[in-house]
């Protein structure tokens, strides 16, 4: 039962990364490339009717986390208190930036909300990457000092940074060089992902430049991936353990690499959707590989005293998880139906949709 909900949760998070990921990316593109009014419009139209539904994936994933793994939910949400609240603030700015901009036609007003939307998207991409880094690195569960826990075994609290920015320091911070590295990777890949979506969904005059951008950034991404894999052992001495035990898991890194190398051909694709498909593969594969490398852990412990949080020691009881399955299946079918309807109605290029016009 725990395994079922683990797979559900990871799948929902992966969907979130892939779907809302392109919204963040579009925001970053908007920030750096949205010079002409018509290009800005095209970018916003491309995500207009979707971004809210995409955001629901994290809300629903949060709900599933709360219900299936309440101890993890409690521990991580209170432990990562400050960055989470900041993510909330950024989500608010991104949403109102998108929704309020078109309400008043005034250059200053539009400038303010353009920037709010773009900067919030950029920072969100960075923060989500940092968040992933924190989970992989693990935390000092129970806030152990000299072998004694200051709190119950599964609680902790991290400040935003410690002065050394060293992930292995005893007093950890949210931001250290390792988590920043993942944050930068997230910004790069989501920028590419967003560019791919804009290329797919619009006839914007930017498209040719965006294709070049994706091509160039792909080298940067490759470099960053090589760096991160080579420093990963500092954080986790046996990152490949699970893969050696269960070789089929290698499918996930393979999916990721397919996405990565596929994107080198971005300039010659016949259909505009291909670039988006490859960056989705990269995101999906990358996320799944990371989850697989720490499985069954969900939040590793960095001390010897308190055990890591795994899917088994943070789950709700059997009965609740069991009844959950029945309603979840019904709901999941409905979600798929909505998703198909939504993308059928808004298929193809969306330059003329008129999003945010009032």
């Amino acid at each position: 039962m725990e395994l079922f909900w683990y797979v559900v949760l990871m799948f929902m998070l992966a969907m979130y990364v892939v779907l809302d990921g392109y919204d963040f990316g579009a925001g970053i593109i908007h920030l750096f490339f949205g010079k002409k009014e018509e290009d800005k419009k095209a970018i916003v139209n491309a995500i207009g009717p979707f971004w809210d539904a995409n955001e629901v994936w994290i809300i629903a994933a949060g709900g599933v986390l709360f219900f299936a793994f309440p101890t993890l939910y409690a521990s991580s949400f209170s432990g990562f208190y400050l960055p989470l609240i900041m993510i909330l603030w950024l989500l608010i700015f991104r949403a109102i930036g998108l929704e309020l901009r078109g309400q008043v036609h005034n250059p200053i007003w539009e400038k303010i909300w353009d920037k709010a939307f773009g900067v919030a998207s950029l920072l969100l991409a960075l923060f989500f990457g940092i968040a992933l880094g924190n989970v992989v690195r693990g935390v000092n569960l129970g806030m152990v000092e000299n072998g004694v826990s200051a709190y119950e075994a599964h609680y902790f609290f991290l400040p935003l940074w410690n002065p050394t920015f060293n992930p292995m320091a005893q007093h950890q911070g949210i931001i250290d060089w390792f988590t920043i590295l993942l944050g930068i990777i997230a910004v790069v890949i989501l920028t590419m992902h967003g560019a791919n979506w804009v290329i797919f969904k619009t006839n914007s005059s930017l498209n040719e430049r965006l294709k070049k951008l994706v091509f160039r950034l792909n080298f940067v991404l490759l470099g960053l991936i090589v760096i991160s894999v080579s420093v990963w052992h500092i954080i986790d001495p046996y990152p490949f353990w699970n893969f050696i035990e269960e070789p089929w898991l290698f499918i996930f890194p393979l999916i990721m690499l397919t996405g990565l190398f596929g994107m080198f051909k971005v300039r010659t694709f016949k259909k505009d959707i291909y670039g988006f498909l490859f960056s989705s593969l990269f995101l999906f594969g990358g996320f799944a590989s990371t989850a697989a490398s720490i499985f069954p852990e969900l939040l590793p412990s960095t001390n010897e005293v308190n055990p890591s949080l795994t899917i088994y020691n943070v789950a709700a009881d059997e009965y609740g998880l069991g009844v959950g399955v029945s309603w979840f299946i019904v709901a999941a079918i409905l979600v798929v139906v909505y998703f198909v309807i939504q993308h059928k109605v808004f298929k193809g290029k969306m330059d003329d949709i008129g999003y945010g016009e009032h």
């Binding site: 539904a53 809300i59 629903a60 599933v64 219900f67 989500l91 309400q103 009881d317 109605v345």
Partner: protein
């Protein structure tokens, strides 16, 4: 939630009558709904996060139960609403009017499902059912069905939904009155006032009776100490309790100052017997008293007082409308216009009553509020984030008002 119902109503009238006026009305309110929705989304997400960030211990202990209803809310209502809202707002041309109506209906369904599931969660905190407590203090679910047959849930849900219709009726009527008094968009002004008054008179009555009455009966039955504080009864009265209309609780001397009250009426309302005994605060342990008795008392009285005024006003307006005088009776239109903020106040006061009434408990009689907080989050950090939210919400509130003002000032597009 109320507005989504009214929009569906306008769209429905349009489909039936093919009168463009109704479609324009639907479109006009959709714009305001879209703003409301954006505000709902950005304030709703913090609420979901907040369980974990600020109430970690509570989440850990009860997550297996309230997590069910919250996860269901995400899966059943948020996906429904957000997928179809996009279609509803931007798909009119692509979909045609019939399908457009269907998407509007689905948004309405999603928002009511959301209300239902959140009230189900809330009801469990007020009156926990279907659970078992393990040795380590964890609440585990033993009966899924009980979450939805909870006696607290249905009255509370219906009361809340009626309250939401009251709110939107008053808003629609107020903007209609504004147009009439302004001599602008008069056709829409009439339509809005009429629709607002028809919905308003029905929902104002239903919000008090039976739903408000049943909600109050739940409180008497399951949280008698809360009820005593809500009503401001310090001592049990022999031979039946009076109902207090006005008075200021004086906690030091345990009495109400400057009281105006109707003898025995409370006993009748609560138990349908003029001399039934309503327990006063004196019969309970001081440590189980709601933490903020004056707040609770005022919250409750403001809600009920406003509810009574709403019924009176809506009855008067309906009467005038029946005699075909309403649109000419300026002073009533002025009152309708100025009533705009009061349903919001009544709603807020209702939640005050529910939340302050539950104190000092998070899960009634089982888990104290102080036991639910996050153990590792310091008060300095919560103050920091609280201030951040206060600032942000102030900004949002101001923007919201400005933009609604702008939409209203521009008015609906007249039928071509």
């Amino acid at each position: 939630m109320g507005l989504s119902l009214m929009i569906v109503w306008f769209k429905w009238k349009f489909l039936r009558s093919n009168d463009e006026k109704y479609n324009d009305a639907a479109k006009f309110w959709m714009k305001i709904f879209a703003l409301n929705f954006a505000m709902g989304v950005v304030t709703g997400i913090p609420m979901e996060f907040q369980f974990g960030t600020n109430w970690a211990k509570f989440s850990e202990l009860t997550g297996g139960i309230i997590g069910q209803t919250l996860a269901m809310e995400g899966m059943f209502s948020f996906f429904l609403e957000s997928s179809f809202l996009g279609l509803f707002l931007f798909g009119e041309k692509l979909l045609g009017h019939k399908l457009h109506f269907v998407t509007g209906f689905l948004v309405f369904l999603g928002s009511w499902a959301s209300g239902f599931l959140i009230i189900a969660t809330h009801s469990w905190m007020q009156y926990p059912v279907g659970y078992e407590i393990l040795d380590n203090g964890k609440f585990v679910l033993t009966n899924f069905g009980a979450l939805f047959s909870n006696p607290w849930l249905w009255p509370s849900f219906l009361h809340n939904q009626m309250a939401s219709i009251v709110t939107s009726s008053f808003v629609v009527a107020a903007f209609g009155a504004f147009y009439l008094l302004n001599n602008k968009h008069k056709e829409f002004g009439k339509l809005f006032v009429k629709t607002g008054v028809v919905f308003g008179v029905i929902s104002s009555i239903l919000v008090a009776f039976p739903t408000g009455d049943l909600t109050a009966k739940n409180v008497v039955k399951h949280q008698p100490v809360t009820f005593a504080a809500m009503e401001g009864i310090f001592e049990t009265e022999e031979g039946g309790s009076e109902i207090v209309l006005i008075g200021q609780p004086n906690i030091q001397d345990k009495k109400l100052d400057n009281k105006i009250a109707v003898p025995n009426f409370l006993s009748f309302l609560t138990y349908q017997q003029w001399d039934a005994e309503v327990k006063g605060l004196n019969e309970f342990n001081q440590e189980d008293y709601p933490t903020n008795i004056p707040g609770l008392y005022y919250g409750y009285h403001i809600m009920v007082g406003l509810g009574t005024i709403f019924i009176g006003l809506m009855l008067l307006a309906s009467f005038l409308m029946w005699r075909k005088k309403l649109f000419k009776t300026q002073w009533v239109l002025w009152i309708l216009m100025f009533m705009l903020p009061f349903p919001y106040i009544a709603n807020t006061m209702g939640w005050y009553t529910a939340e302050l009434g539950r104190q000092p408990w998070l899960v009634y009689n089982l888990l104290r509020t102080t036991e639910g907080a996050s153990p590792t989050v310091s008060s300095g950090n919560t103050l920091f984030t609280l201030l951040g939210f206060v600032g942000l919400y102030l900004l949002l509130g101001m923007l919201f008002l400005i933009l609604v003002g702008k939409i209203v000032n521009k008015g609906p597009h007249p039928a071509k």
